[in-house]
Amino acid sequence: MTVDLERTISITVNGVPREATVPVRRLLSDALRHDLGLTGTHVGCEHGVCGSCTVLLEGSPVRSCLVLAVQADGQSVTTVEGLSRSDHQGGQVLHPIQESFRECHALQCGFCTPGFLTTIAAGLDARDPSVEITEEEVEELVGGNLCRCTGYANIKKACRHAAETMRAEAGR
């Protein structure tokens, strides 16, 4: 059994296999930003309260400041940069929640936005899109993230808008 101070790790980030050699105390949030150059993930409180750094680990939202980079070795991570999808014509289309944030003016300074987008996108993707979203569901989707600009009203509006878009798409 080895006890290490530094390790080389392999993480599939947004579908791309990446490798980095990191001190074992490196937080996943810092590994993404500093070692892999993906600065879309924002680091706010750095102790799990604000939700800005939320990424998807094996598809589920987690605080990347509360996971060590070495713990993500061999796993897949999706950051805000990975929420958009290919449009099969050489371009990218935004996730419905990203479109809805723009549509509903759900951000002001934008610092907390990556955490909201990853959390809500995973929540919306996991639910049955044909069912109308409830107010309780919306509150559960946004409840773990802090925003100091918007007062949340437009973020919740964006959630409902995105759910409606996905419902319309599912109905087609």
Partner: protein, 294 residues
């Protein structure tokens, strides 16, 4: 801030984990979900020399629900316990309390057993372990042992588990027949640390009269305690039981501290209110379950 430097090992067997913990000595700490430990490291409130990550140990991610109770492995995330209909059928408090544990992103990573081993007096699952009269299984180099909740919790963030040891699982006994439960808490933001929380169990007899009412609280004491409130309501039919009297009794039994978020008196008021509310719900559920069984 960032965690102070430490060494890291991720063993793949319990024996290997115990070997590393033994070799690294007192500065070694077990890492499971990390949702309480990593904030402590980042705030430099803890600085272990070695982290022994148990996430690669096999077989600890199982929930075993049987007629006697629910055994929750050390790597079961709160989200998995919350989603387990089998666990909720045997002991409904598990799902009800887990729904109040932090936010979904924390529940996806944090473990139920880890939060018990962390022994935070504001944690939900420590109180549920107490209220259900549960226990944990601990592996040490000397062998495996079972520790009941009364012997486990020593003080805030302190358990009787010392030295090289890994808590392998927690066992929550099944809800007895003709009983109902409820769980509620008050927090500044849903999912944040509770200013006060209450879990209760009410049992009725065949005539639907209350035979027992017990409660455990969050954030009102240094260690989880179970309070017997039967004196205020025993013998009364559920629909005319004076739950407020039981709430008043409870507020006299607890000894909360005041802090930045709430004074001791306010916490006592919350204990009374939450007790009354949860007992009424649990009483109604006990009646429903008694009628269902008869």
């Amino acid at each position: 801030m960032k965690p102070a430097p430490f060494a890291y090992a991720d063993p793949t067997t319990v024996e290997e984990a115990l070997d590393v913990l033994t070799a690294e000595g007192e500065g070694a700490k077990v890492l499971a979900g990390g949702q309480s430990l990593l904030p402590l490291l980042s705030m430099r409130l803890a600085a272990p020399t070695t982290l022994v990550d148990i996430n690669r140990l096999p077989g600890l991610d199982r929930i075993e629900a049987g007629p006697n109770g629910v055994r929750v492995g050390a790597l079961v995330r709160h989200a998995a316990l919350l989603a387990s209909a089998e666990a909720a059928a045997v002991q409904p408090l598990l799902g009800r309390a887990t729904a109040n544990v932090a936010h979904p992103a924390i529940r996806n990573r944090g473990t139920t057993v880890g939060s018990i081993a962390h022994a935070d007096p504001s944690g939900e699952m420590t109180s549920v372990l107490a209220l259900t009269d549960g226990s944990v299984t601990v592996a040490t180099p000397g062998g495996r042992s079972t520790i009941g909740w009364r012997d486990l919790f020593v003080g805030p963030l302190e358990t009787s588990v010392h030295g090289p040891a890994v808590v392998l699982d927690a066992f929550f006994p099944a809800l007895p027949a003709r009983s109902g439960t409820a769980f509620a808490e008050v927090a500044r933001r849903k999912g944040d640390y509770a200013v006060c929380g209450a879990g209760v169990v009410v049992t009725v007899d065949d005539d639907l009269r209350v035979t027992a009412a017990r409660a455990a609280y969050l954030s009102v004491g240094l260690v989880p305690e179970v309070h017997d409130l039967s004196g205020a309501v025993a013998g009364k039919p559920v629909d005319s039981a004076d739950w407020a009297a039981a709430g008043a009794l409870a507020s006299g039994l607890v000894d909360p501290d005041g802090d930045l978020h709430a004074s001791a008196d306010y916490r006592r008021l919350l204990v009374a209110t939450l007790t009354e509310r949860t007992l009424a719900d649990a009483g109604a559920e006990a009646v429903a379950r008694a009628l269902e069984a008869s």
